[in-house]
């Protein structure tokens, strides 16, 4: 089973435990909000440098794609996000973790334009992003899945995946109506991409099945396929493994790693299961009660006392 996760394999050869450990911190606690953090060897990784960094397993991480600066989001009296800043770099798997109600989904909704923060600024590819509707964000190349699965229940798997290509369909209405050569070529090209992703995620067998008939785990995979087929520059996954059994979780983890490896897709994911997060991600943001309480590599975060307290349910003062 272990070797199914390529990176877990690689990471585990330093002998560290991989599940979330309640072991005493092995590295100094890095205060939240500080823009520097330390890697295992304690070397400074300058986050503002544009070149990026090299991960423990030897992948080159690029410049910052998405930067959230001092984001505050309120719902009436509830502050779902309190003055949070962090960034996502090209090619990395960035995790957002934290207990229920911490504001993780809200953060993903801010990135994808579903929620508009009261304060703060979003930078995308170095440019400050004006307030955008979710569909405009999607057209910029940011695809996402939802915590509670938002599929087109009345459509087949293939049709669902094809909607993920909508942002790539250019031909005008008239040309399509008359089914001119260009329209046909475009349709064929889009179909090819869709089929490729369907093969990649191993859902060929259910291509024509209506989504409403699929079990939960497969629905999650179809939703990933629909997001992936848009060839996003940033892929946002809200609890991709929630509600899955162990085997399904392992499959999904493998797919997420493979997507990142093969297509170089930048991924930001929310996950509840600490063990999974630690295996998958390059860097982790930890949220609790709307605040950022940690930011760094999995090892660093695991050793962070605030994070341990949050997960153990230590009373807040």
């Amino acid at each position: 089973m272990w070797c199914r996760f390529k990176r877990r394999w690689r990471r585990s050869d330093d002998g560290t435990t991989l599940g979330f450990a309640f072991a005493p911190p092995t590295i100094p606690f890095v205060p939240a909000g500080l823009e520097d953090f330390r890697n295992k060897e304690g070397l400074d990784l300058m986050l503002d440098q544009t070149e990026g960094y090299v991960t423990a397993d030897g992948r080159q991480i690029g410049p910052v794609v998405m930067e959230m600066k001092n984001i505050t989001l309120r719902f009436g009296g509830v502050e779902a996000i309190k003055d949070i800043s962090f960034d996502i770099r090209e090619g990395e798997i960035r995790a957002i973790i934290g207990p229920n109600g911490a504001g993780k989904s809200s953060m993903l909704n801010v990135i994808s334009g579903f929620y508009v923060p009261q304060e703060g600024q979003v930078f995308y590819k170095g440019q400050p992003r004006p307030q955008m509707k979710p569909y405009e964000v999607a057209r910029q190349g940011i695809a996402r899945t939802f915590q509670n699965i938002a599929l087109f229940e009345g459509m087949s798997v293939l049709d669902n995946v094809m909607t993920g290509r909508l942002t790539h369909m250019k031909t005008g209405m008239l040309a399509q109506a008359l089914w001119l050569g260009k329209a046909e070529a475009e349709e064929t090209a889009n179909r090819e991409v869709a089929e490729k992703i369907i093969d990649f995620l191993e859902i060929q067998a259910i291509r024509k099945t209506p989504v409403s008939r699929l079990p939960y785990g497969l629905k999650k995979r179809v939703e990933l396929a629909r997001a992936l087929v848009a060839e996003p520059s940033l892929l946002l996954l809200d609890e991709p493994m929630a509600g899955m059994n162990v085997e399904e979780k392992e499959d999904m983890s493998r797919f997420i790693l493979d997507v990142n490896d093969e297509f170089g897709t930048t991924i930001a994911l929310i996950e509840h299961d600490m063990g999974v997060v630690m295996d998958l991600s390059d860097r982790v943001v930890v949220m609790d009660y709307g605040k950022k309480i940690g930011d760094g590599t999995p090892d660093e975060v695991r050793g962070n006392q605030d994070v341990i307290d949050a997960y153990l349910g230590v009373a807040h003062d």
Binding site: Y135, A150, F152, D159, T163, G164, L166, M169
Partner: protein, 343 residues
């Protein structure tokens, strides 16, 4: 074959043709309801408005002539030109698209996320607003609608001789089927086929289906809800125009046209609010059902012999009672999705 059976066949055939008209109006309802959850009470008035606009443009009427004359003391009524049917239809489609935009921009954009009952009330308001605007724009007198092609052939009217002859040879009694009804049926079939092709194979059609299925998911794949809603209202406006032309050519363009919207209601109860095939089958069932029932109940040989009394004008209520019976036994309609209340 007994005479009564032969007459019943003729009646059914004509009922089928009438049903096409109901189906067309119901189709407009279903399109908007699926995409936005709005039950558009104004669909029938849209058909009226479209038909009036078409006649107005064709005959070179000055829009809002009464208003202009009252304000400026002028005496203008006509531009003094006739516009060709095809050109007038294209211009009317333009007007219906503008209407779709205005409806979205000034009404429903402000009501996003409101309760369905509020949206429904808004469409009732829209229906009467549109009726008033239609009156003000083109005045309320009954108008004759002729649609003709470039070579001078117009929408055919009167008895279809081929059917008359064929049935005469078969039964010794020639059926009366109006050519206009046959044309309406053919055009309706083409319209539905085109709509299906549009929704299955074009980008906009896919986006439309996506919005009809799940708003949040549609947004996440880059679909603008606002754009799709304008598109759907435009398509519904186009369907309304087709219905308006058919109805107007048959009985003249008059305000009673908006009442066909009410007949579409029982059609929807039967067919389900979210099903395009349902709208069509429901329309046909109501069309045939009410004509046959009328035929049966008003005949002294049938109802008279059986019950000892006859009834007239059952067409006024038959559709609604049928819908009521359906509501009791199958609330989701023939083709609608089953309504499951999640607890």
């Amino acid at each position: 074959m007994p005479d009564q059976l032969i007459y019943a066949m003729e009646v059914s055939l004509n009922g089928l043709m009438a049903g096409v008209m109901y189906a067309l109006v119901a189709l407009g309802f279903v399109l908007i309801f699926k995409a936005s959850g709005i039950f558009n009470f104004a669909q029938g008035v849209m058909a009226l408005f479209a038909a009036m606009t078409l006649v107005g443009i064709q005959t070179g009427q000055v829009p809002f002539a009464h208003l202009i004359n009252a304000v400026f003391g002028t005496q203008i009524h006509h531009f003094g030109w006739q516009i060709h049917s095809i050109v007038a239809i294209i211009l009317t489609v333009g007007v219906m698209i503008a209407l779709a935009w205005a409806v979205q921009r000034f009404i429903f954009q402000h009501l996003v996320g409101q309760e369905p009952i509020i949206l429904f009330m808004a469409t009732i308001g829209l229906a009467y607003l549109l009726e008033g605007v239609a009156d003000l724009m083109w005045n309320s007198e009954i108008k004759k609608l002729d649609v003709c092609l470039a070579d001078g052939t117009c929408l055919p009217q009167g008895i279809n001789l081929a059917i008359d002859e064929a049935t005469f040879n078969l039964f010794g009694y020639g059926f009366f089927v109006d050519n206009l009804d046959i044309t309406a049926t053919i055009i309706a079939i083409i319209l539905v086929a085109a709509l299906v092709a549009f929704s299955q194979y074009t980008k906009q059609g896919r986006a439309m289906r996506a919005v009809a299925d799940d708003h949040q998911a549609a947004l996440s794949v880059g679909v603008s809800l606002n754009y799709i809603w304008i598109l759907v209202w435009s398509v519904a406006g186009f369907v309304a125009l087709v219905a308006g032309i058919m109805w107007g050519a048959k009985s003249g363009v008059q305000f009673s046209l908006s009442l066909i919207a009410l007949k579409a209601l029982p059609v929807l109860m039967l067919g389900g609010f979210t099903s395009i095939p349902g709208a069509i089958v429901g329309g046909l069932i109501i069309g045939v059902g009410e004509k046959l029932f009328e035929f049966f109940m008003s005949s002294s040989d049938l109802a008279g012999a059986l019950f000892g009394f006859t009834m007239n004008a059952t067409e006024n209520w038959f559709a609604y009672v049928l819908a009521l019976i359906f509501l009791v036994f199958r609330p989701q309609g023939l083709f609608g999705e089953k309504i499951i209340e999640r607890v």
